[in-house]
Symmetry: C2
Subunit: 271 residues, 2 copies
Amino acid sequence: MLLINGQPCDSVSALDRGLSYGDGLFETIRFEQGKAPLWSRHMQRLATGCERLGMPAPDAALIWQEAQQVTDKLAQCVLRITLTRGLGERGYAPPIQVSPTRIVVAFPMPVVSRTLYLEGVRLHRCHTTLADQPLLAGIKHLNRLEQVLARAEWSDPAISEGLVCDSHGNVISATAANLFAVIDGVLVTPSVDRCGVAGVARAAILEAFPNCQVRDVALDEGVRAAELFLSSSVRGILPVQAVGDTVYAPGPVVRAMQQHWRDLGFAMEQA
Amino acid sequence: MLLINGQPCDSVSALDRGLSYGDGLFETIRFEQGKAPLWSRHMQRLATGCERLGMPAPDAALIWQEAQQVTDKLAQCVLRITLTRGLGERGYAPPIQVSPTRIVVAFPMPVVSRTLYLEGVRLHRCHTTLADQPLLAGIKHLNRLEQVLARAEWSDPAISEGLVCDSHGNVISATAANLFAVIDGVLVTPSVDRCGVAGVARAAILEAFPNCQVRDVALDEGVRAAELFLSSSVRGILPVQAVGDTVYAPGPVVRAMQQHWRDLGFAMEQA
């Protein structure tokens, strides 16, 4: 089911600025049994994105109602909320009066095998690098061609994700997940101040493990880590088994993160 | 009138990748009396963009037919062609079988007063800078939040455009036009290999004036130029009258460019 501005509908104006310019934001939110444990973090990031793009803040209570409507009776699903700057004249200038377009749709939960939670995922080392753009870094906007190009670099179904760097040789994230590493016994995650997305699963981990360092991580340093794992609000905590030919064994830190993830309310991943 | 994949229609699927990720390209093409003097250059850039994004090349003859259909009976208009990667599963991975979405729509020609062609336009100096992304530079893709943010920096109707730099302090372009400068008697336009759009009006000028230098232009150097002007396939050749408090008088080079522009078939701008 799909709601557009609260109405059952499956299409948007061909003149919507979301389509014309990628002028908007989105969230993908995991629902289990009608609950979304990270809901308030998603709403917070959406509000931050609106502020950054100069768009009116959404009504989180209204979105919650619509989310209930589209996820009704689904045991598990992924809700996507897309918020655009709505219709506008041709040209980049934002309209003076903005009537945002709000799209709320439920997708089936992706199947992630138990083996991947247990043994980890394989990563392709992407050649596509992320550009430095502090004005857009961190928020989940609709300009995602870098991620599309990075994800298009491999088609082997045995490879679940890609390791993506910035243009300075720092590792930033996967194409659709954040990255954590255990380096010299310390939990570290790359800074997303210049590029990358500040994931809500990442934010939940940072709150629960305040000793985690947030800093630049050179690719070499990242690849030499004792443990590597991904965080995704949809897929949870996934150990990295390999980056190209470099292999890793899931260690105690990723297991603690998986336990924390289950404690948040995502019970199904019994790795 | 609006055609989507050849059918009269004004909406697209809310699950189109053009909307979800800005996964596509566009062109805005000026028509006068049924003719588009820069048509083949627009089609060339669109094909280059498809190659860069790994999308099937469009059928230019089919687009021409559709363009004729939507611009029919309009003395002047701006045609926008949007080409997206079409529908896909949720997630960045491009679908294996791509059925692009093709949107063809005519907009009214924007009114540009004769005074602006004669005396020039005023430019705001934008704080928003363009990120270096060689994989996307030059092509006219749908990820345009940088331009939206730059254009949102001013609302004074007396200011027509913004001067946009890269993150290294080089001047690149206006928000929706390319930039040319006369520096030490030499015609120069900024390189668009790392950011910016390779405009078709710019390409037409480069072909007609092969001595024009294409290189990095530091902001200071650009602002000290004897002449500054903008090129746009929609608005033509516009002298720059001022960048902030720095004023310029239209000189012989911009007048020669305006003459060349009229000779291409855009007769109306009798500056």
